[in-house]
């Protein structure tokens, strides 16, 4: 009796071959691209604010950065005979975060070079998504610090840059001191705290609006894309250290608040330090990692020659992730720690 005959009773026939696959045979709806889309959504309000404060050029820089990341990823994967994975949106997230870390006055070739470093060197050469051991956008930012003056020129808050030229002339951008630079000099910034929280200050495209970045972070928490551990541990550590040891004589609380809202701490702690590929996966590991990031940030800000320490601190902690995960391995159900079970 052949198979067709056996299945005559059925209105649709059984196929000749059934698929044999390992269980589970059904899967949940979460996908990498859906998670990345959530991150893009969470970053959108801060992007809108960046364009509103710094002018239309902010959008241009962001667009170039995202496009460059996507194109570099396609080229790298084609060249390496890998499946093209840009539809997982992770390259777009890297591009957006890279732009968030750049000043609006940056020459447009720089995000392209930065995107190359982020996607090709840091991500694809190490095996693609999930395999990079440092945050691509931050590594690219640090790489771009090779051009210190381009990376260190910020327009004053509210001074809109509408020029779409590849490189800006001197007159287009008037350099202004960021609040962090003021803090470095030992004084409280001129901006009032409200302006700092809303984002009426000088800085990179995406870092200025603490309020909108926190809103994005809350969205990611509600969507369960991230957990609270890293941002809370990170910001909490910076808050505690700067409250106890303000860098200049003055009101402790004020110094603490300015340290939190000036610079890239909120962007870094909510969106960069929580990058899946380069953060610990255990709750305990996440807490230690956040504390480490906070400690190093304060050390660099206080004693380093750069005004900002967020990027460096996250990159340094990235390299400890394997050990943090190992040290904080949960005790298995019915077992003992570190596999020493009977």
């Amino acid at each position: 009796m052949d198979k067709q005959e056996k299945n005559r009773g059925a209105s649709k026939t059984m196929p000749e071959l059934l698929k044999v696959a390992p269980s589970p045979h059904i899967k949940g709806a979460d996908t990498t691209s859906a998670l990345m889309l959530d991150v893009l959504i969470a970053l959108t309000p801060a992007l809108v604010w960046g364009v509103f404060t710094f002018g239309i050029r902010a959008l241009l820089v962001t667009g170039v950065s995202i496009a460059a990341c996507v194109v570099w990823e396609i080229l790298a994967e084609l060249l390496m005979h890998r499946r093209v994975t840009v539809s997982d949106l992770s390259a777009a997230v890297t591009g957006l975060l890279l732009a968030f870390n750049l000043p609006v006055t940056i020459p447009l070739w720089m995000p392209v070079v930065g995107a190359f470093f982020a996607i090709v060197i840091v991500k694809q050469l190490f095996g693609g998504i999930g395999k990079n051991f440092v945050n691509p956008a931050l590594a690219a930012r640090v790489f771009l610090f090779s051009w210190a003056s381009e990376m260190g020129t910020f327009p004053a808050a509210g001074e809109k840059i509408s020029s779409l030229a590849v490189t800006l002339s001197e007159t287009d951008a008037v350099a202004a001191a960021t609040p962090l630079a003021s803090l470095k000099a030992g004084s409280l910034p001129d901006e009032n705290l409200f302006a700092m929280i809303v984002g009426n200050m000088s800085g990179t495209i995406g870092e200025v609006s603490a309020l909108l970045l926190i809103a994005g972070g809350v969205y990611l928490l509600l969507r369960r894309v991230i957990t609270w551990h890293i941002p809370v541990a990170y910001i909490g550590t910076v808050a505690a250290l700067t409250l106890v040891f303000p860098r200049a004589p003055g009101p402790h609380l004020n110094f603490m608040l300015y340290e939190i809202f000036a610079g890239g701490l909120i962007l870094g702690s909510v969106f960069m330090a929580t990058d899946y590929a380069t953060a610990p996966v255990t709750p305990g590991g996440k807490l230690l990692y956040g504390i480490g990031c906070g400690g190093i940030t304060v050390l660099i800000r206080y004693f380093g020659s750069y005004p900002e320490g967020v990027s460096f601190s996250i990159l340094i902690m990235n390299m400890l992730v394997w050990y943090l995960d190992r040290a904080t391995m949960p005790r298995p159900f019915g077992g003992k720690l570190n596999g020493k079970q009977t």
């Binding site: 044999v20 269980s23 589970p24 045979h25 059904i26 499946r83 999930g130 298995p332 159900f333």
Partner: protein, 450 residues
């Protein structure tokens, strides 16, 4: 508040058949009964080709005391063949094929227990359960007599597993609703056998009708109570169930009896009662037939050994072309390659899925280190690390990270946004670790010999 455990996942329930009454499948023209449908040694045929057998007649047995249990004819008729066939697990086993004579002759030795429960000894109960060929009907197929025997004097709680946490399956649900008395009487026999004074019937809170019914029936009992557990996967895993109800954590590599508990599936309890009340051994079971390809999903009472093709036909056939046929639940069941697969004592469901059903549209199977598998693992392991060690062949590290504690529930794979078959990598690691352990033990034995 419902009892529960930490970790686990919420899966879409698909309990489409929860209102489908148990229907008896018309007896098939022939059945193919495996002699190895339980954990332990396979039974040996005690009938020959050409013999006429009655329903409930023993067709395979093995020496008493050996782990395993007898197998019985599920239809009356003539033994057509006794041959080795590939089983649903992929291993080959001896199968007895019986041609149905449709006379439904019940075997002469099938008789109710004559004594009252109060006068029955533990040994007698173990013997009846063994002779009836009863195994864990939730899927594990561990011989029930051996479980009872190993629990004697060691346990203070009997837990009846009616959680049924796998999606789609409602076989236990219907059993508890339609035959609650059999279930409760089965529990009473177990209480008597083990000399225990406490039994919990665990039911997930997605079955309020069952909870209400059982609570009404055990209201007068001082020993049996209903325990409502949270609807969460894998609530029916015995480690999680014991923990949820008693707070006792079964150590890795140990059994529930090591923490004073013993767990029986709901249908197993009903089968025990049937063996006492009618003397009928385990010759049929309830099977949920469902999946997006099945025209009329149903709960069927099926003679053991019926091919799943008959079940599918009885359910109105197919509405679309299936690509996967699952023996068991969608989370832990095994995919079959053929509709001739016979129903065994542990087949709780037959599911047919089309190609797209339940699949994920991932760009590529890559771990993005999101940590969901760690948050969801009911055994509190780090599945993504174990899977990665398994992938690169570092089984030592996989073992160190607790691979052997994995219960293979699949919560990690289910919720992996990267679409990585995490639990399959862990299975590979477990198999390699077991082989390595066996090799090391053999080496050690050799050294001792010298």
């Amino acid at each position: 508040m419902a009892y529960t455990f930490s970790g686990g996942i919420h899966v879409e329930e698909f309990k489409n058949t929860k209102k489908c009454r148990i229907e008896a499948l018309p007896p098939p023209s022939s059945v193919s009964i495996s002699l190895a449908q339980h954990i332990g040694a396979p039974a040996e045929a005690c009938v020959s080709v050409g013999d006429t057998v009655g329903i409930g007649q023993k067709i395979g047995d093995l020496p008493e005391g050996m782990l395993g249990c007898p197998v019985h004819a599920s239809v009356s008729g003539r033994v057509k063949s006794i041959t080795k066939k590939v089983q649903s697990s992929g291993a080959a086993a001896e199968c007895v094929e019986i041609e149905n004579d449709f006379l439904d002759t019940v075997w002469q030795d099938v008789r109710p227990m004559e004594k009252k429960l109060a006068d029955v000894t533990t040994d007698e109960i173990v013997s009846v359960v063994r002779e009836a060929g009863i195994v864990g009907m939730g899927g594990a197929a561990f011989p029930t007599w051996a479980k009872i025997k190993s629990a004697i004097g060691k346990v203070d709680r009997i837990i009846v597993n009616g959680a049924e946490c796998e999606p789609f399956i409602t076989a236990n649900h219907r059993l508890m609703l339609e035959r609650p008395a059999s279930l409760i009487n089965g529990v009473k026999i177990l209480l008597k056998a083990l000399g225990v004074r406490t039994a919990y019937i665990a039911v997930e809170d997605n079955k309020p009708d069952v909870i209400e019914k059982l609570e009404e029936l055990v209201a007068q009992s001082s020993m049996i109570s209903v325990r409502v557990v949270k609807t969460k996967y894998p609530q029916g895993d015995e480690r999680q169930l014991v923990y949820a109800l008693t707070g006792r954590e079964i150590p890795a590599g140990k059994l529930p009896a090591d923490v004073g508990c013993v767990v029986f599936n709901a249908e197993t309890c009903a089968a025990i009662y049937r063996a006492f009340a009618d003397g009928m051994p385990c010759v049929s079971r309830i099977v949920t037939v469902d999946g997006d390809c099945v025209r009329h999903p149903k709960n069927l009472l099926v003679p053991i050994g019926t091919s799943v093709r008959e079940l599918i036909e009885f359910c109105g056939g197919l509405t679309r072309e299936p690509s996967r046929l699952i023996n068991g639940g969608p989370m832990m069941g095994t995919a079959q390659w053929d509709t001739e697969m016979p129903v065994t004592k542990s087949t709780s469901a037959v599911l047919l899925f089309s190609d797209r059903f339940g699949r994920k549209n991932a760009a590529s199977a890559s771990c993005i280190r999101c940590g969901r598998c760690i948050a969801n693992c009911p055994m509190r392991l780090m599945p993504m690390y174990i899977a990665q060690f398994s992938k690169i062949g570092d089984m030592k590290r996989a073992e160190e990270y607790g691979a052997m504690s994995c219960v293979e529930c699949g919560s990690c794979s289910y919720n992996c946004p990267g679409g990585v078959e995490i639990v399959q990598y862990i299975r590979v690691a477990k198999a390699a670790i077991k082989t390595e352990r066996a090799r090391a033990a053999a080496d050690a034995a050799k050294r001792e010999d010298r």
